[in-house]
Symmetry: C2
Subunit: 247 residues, 2 copies
């Protein structure tokens, strides 16, 4: 069943004023017809199963068949702080991270990151990222669309992690920090900041800075994962370990 | 340190006859110079740390500094059997699967798979795939380049899994087959065939066919992972659970 995110101030109404962009997708992209059923959800847990009644370029009229409260989100909130990297790799991290269950993304600049993204934002990029996470949320059956924060620098991210939750930082030289041991140290904390470096990794000073603030270095073992792979694998393993794939 | 795969009949010699393609990468792509150090490895565990002496378009002369036997491969052999899917998603599965530690790939046709790949092989595609897994092996520090088999059909793959190891099959309706329980049933088996369906999943008959041969259906929980994501996440979790990220 196709799912569409509709902002909650709209979904609350009896008459759903389907946003133009959603009309376009229903009418043009998916070529759906009257009679087809779809799900609208509002990001706060409300879902409406609706049947399409009229389908047009600019408006879609629906009959609500059923309403439900559904919360298909992990209990553990992973905040994936990913150093900006070249090309479209961040797009990919946002898409896959959303599928897996990441709650928030913080694109981050660090010493060796590649500033293909302008710190104060290229607006079209923000719009593209929003679209990627929204579509991945719809497709994966999640209830809530992850937040993508504006780009922050490494030191800010470490401070946020230290004050708001617990932070772990990927470091390929973290020989004594195997991931199972690191996970034990996370205890029952539910807000986990997962810091992933750029292609060249974090440097020693950065890791020391983070460690001094209480962040824990970790390694995923001897095989070297690419920058864009490491965060997703670490997030998956944390969810798995906490039985959070099933919630 | 940059690593390059050199077939073992060449690496055995005292005078290493660096393949033309590798010369091109060293000279043109990476623009390396005499004095730079790189690692050559042959896929069977032999590694040579060498220093570049002469670098040219068609030939590279090196001094061998050190030889070693290194085996950076997981004990668990995962054979990822992935239904063929549209676009370049398979390329991506091969790259990421290699990084994570998959030993073999079997591209597979199944009822709902999208035959963007011709069963009897488009040669250029095979060459591209080989290149992808070779480069991912070099980059990830693995010792052995995964095998990509020719495309096989679903029934053949199930039979191979049943006779040569143990097979598990992703099925979104496998409510009672949560992944932790399935993993326990894998016991100490080291050859795990991991069957992943196309975008529409496997159908009920396919799952029954597999189950009758002893394959175990599994689900990764309520969130729906895309076809190209599911196998990588399942493989990561299996390696993690068996401490195979560290070997």
């Amino acid at each position: 069943m196709k799912r569409f995110f509709i902002p909650k101030d709209i979904l609350r109404e009896c008459v759903i004023d389907v946003p133009k962009e959603t009309c376009h997708r229903i009418f043009r992209v998916l070529r759906m017809s009257p009679g087809d059923k779809v799900v609208f959800f509002d990001g706060s847990g409300r879902e409406k199963l609706v049947q399409l009644k009229e389908v047009g370029r600019n408006s879609v009229v629906v009959d609500v068949i059923k309403e439900a409260l559904v919360w298909n989100e992990p209990v553990t909130r992973i905040i994936l702080c990913q150093s900006v990297t070249k090309g479209k790799k961040l797009d990919w991290v946002f898409q896959k991270g959303t599928e897996i269950g990441v709650s928030e993304f913080i694109p981050m600049t660090s010493k060796r990151s590649i500033p293909s993204v302008k710190p104060n934002g290229d607006k079209s990029q923000g719009v593209r990222w929003e679209k990627i996470v929204t579509e991945a949320t719809e497709q994966s059956g999640r209830s809530s669309v992850p937040i993508i924060h504006t780009i922050a620098n490494f030191e800010e991210v470490c401070k946020t992690a230290a004050t708001r939750g617990i932070g772990i930082i990927a470091w390929e030289k973290a020989d004594n920090y195997d991931f199972k041991a690191v996970e034990l140290r996370l205890g029952l904390k539910s807000d986990i900041y997962l810091l992933i470096g750029p292609e060249g990794g974090f440097d020693h000073q950065e890791v020391e800075f983070a460690r001094n603030l209480g962040l824990i270095p970790f390694s995923l073992g001897k095989r070297i994962l690419r920058a864009e792979t490491a965060g997703l694998i670490a997030a998956s393993v944390i969810f798995y370990q906490r039985n959070d794939f099933d919630i």
